[in-house]
């Protein structure tokens, strides 16, 4: 076919088909994007704390990324959430082995019980597991 054979009809047909194809592809792209949309991930509820050797007997380790504190006593491993039970601020360690909330000054003892309000519930105890590979895992859910 030489150039003279491309009629106006053929040209319009080509444009029409091109537009239809493009709109179809864009539409499919939108549907694909809709179907594969990833929502913001939920906060993690399981934390690999590393080898148990990092937490010697008698240690008290604050884990800011949880936030929690890991205790290793003669009874084994335990953990307390450092989320204040009043409104959810992160509590800090105080100078008497307890915890104090920087938002509204709730105080908790070393074992998490309420010393001073406005919080009226103890800090939440979290589950800690020692896996066969010698690593500690913390679960917040």
């Amino acid at each position: 076919m030489n150039e003279k054979d491309v009629t106006r009809r053929d040209f319009l047909k080509l444009i029409t088909n091109g537009l239809l194809t493009l709109s179809g592809l864009l539409g499919l792209g939108g549907i694909f994007r809709f179907l594969t949309y990833q929502t913001d991930p939920s906060p993690p509820t399981e934390f690999d704390l590393g080898p148990t050797t990092n937490y010697p007997d008698g240690s008290r380790t604050v884990l800011p990324r949880v936030p929690a504190v890991l205790l290793h006593t003669k009874d084994g491993y335990s953990a307390l959430s450092l989320v204040c039970t009043h409104l959810g601020c992160t509590v800090n360690e105080d100078d008497s082995d307890g915890y104090v909330c920087p938002c509204h000054t709730s105080r908790f003892s070393a074992n998490g019980s309420v010393v001073r309000g406005p919080a009226d519930r103890p800090l939440r105890a979290l589950r800690v597991e020692e896996h066969d590979d010698g690593r500690l895992w913390l679960y917040t859910a």
Binding site: L20, L26, G27, G117
Partner: protein, 418 residues
Amino acid sequence: MKRTISFAAGILVLALVFSAWAEARRPQPMPLTPTLTGETEYCLTCHADLEEISPSHPVETYGCVVCHGGERLALDADLAHSTMRGGKNPSDLAVVEESCGGSDCHSGQAADERDHIQRVLTSVQATYAGAIANIRYTFGAQPDLNAYLGTRAVQDTTTQTGITSLAAFDPARETNPALQTFAENCLECHLNSEPRPGDEYARFSGCAACHTPTATTFPPRSRDAAEGLVHTLTTAIPYTQCNTCHNRGNYDLRTMTFAPRDDQPADRIHDYYQPIAQFTRCEWTLDCIDCHTRSESMGDGDIHNNQKEIQYVQCRTCHGTLDELPHTRTLTDPNDLAFRLAALNQGARHLELGDTIIVTETGEPLWNTRQLPDGTFELVGKATRQYFTFRPVMGTACEQKPDEQESRYCHQCHSAER
């Protein structure tokens, strides 16, 4: 037919291209999931540079929406702001219960000292009941000086004062024109009102009237504050904030107008206070909140007739009298309110169990005071962090008469030379 299909396909392509362009222009959302709500919000996409409002309200715990309202997932400014409570000020008393209330926040139990909103709503600062009663009595609209009306209708079901409610003051129902003029010109200094125009009056309404310092006149503060762009809540309230209402001039009862002072206050003692009044050193070196208590300023939960009924701190509260030392309390209970108040005004005073502080006649802790080992007392300025020491009157050469114990008698000898 083909032409129609071609046209429709063209429109579709244009629409899709426009959508892609519009989305490309949209900012990348900055999600925040506050601990308190657990619901993601995108406010920080545009407001990430806003200063933290207070140490008690960290944004990662509260987010923005729980206080301000708004559409938490909207990225369009108009849509995001369309359902905000109180505009820039969620503490406006019209919306404060929804914004700042809740039993764990500022609408809790009186026994826990967490009934801030209930107390403020019935306080004289919000009802303006004394001024309204005074003016209505003066112009014959009521038989006595008791409070019957407030800026808004309020109720108190657990009244200790005998006043169970106030109806809303409605100028349209007043027959005396002076009272209507009063309503037009003289109702700009209470917590329900917007301030008069002018930098010297710049403040918000509601809680932020006091807790969000915006004063621009003395000392000079940022223009941002004057334009309502300040994002701060504090209990360290400087006296300049009090003076956005107080000390600004006088009301002329003949014309029922506000007559603002025509000078620009600069020197606190010589220029600031009303010329006819007397002031002791405490009153012009300390901030108002260094002596006046939370129940005086925010109310005690009861409806009162006027300011005089609720304002009770006097010189003797801290200094005692010739016969009596000031009331004190040694802190033995870790749940003592004094600890919470001190901690919320961070850095002003570190109280410890065993400290002895001054308390008022009603038992309110003046947590910024402390008794020193030699029997004298120390006070720290809540806003200035300055330390002052003072001693009780007892044992001094003061010749105060036993029956003249009010502050006005102290002023006769101890007022500043002006």
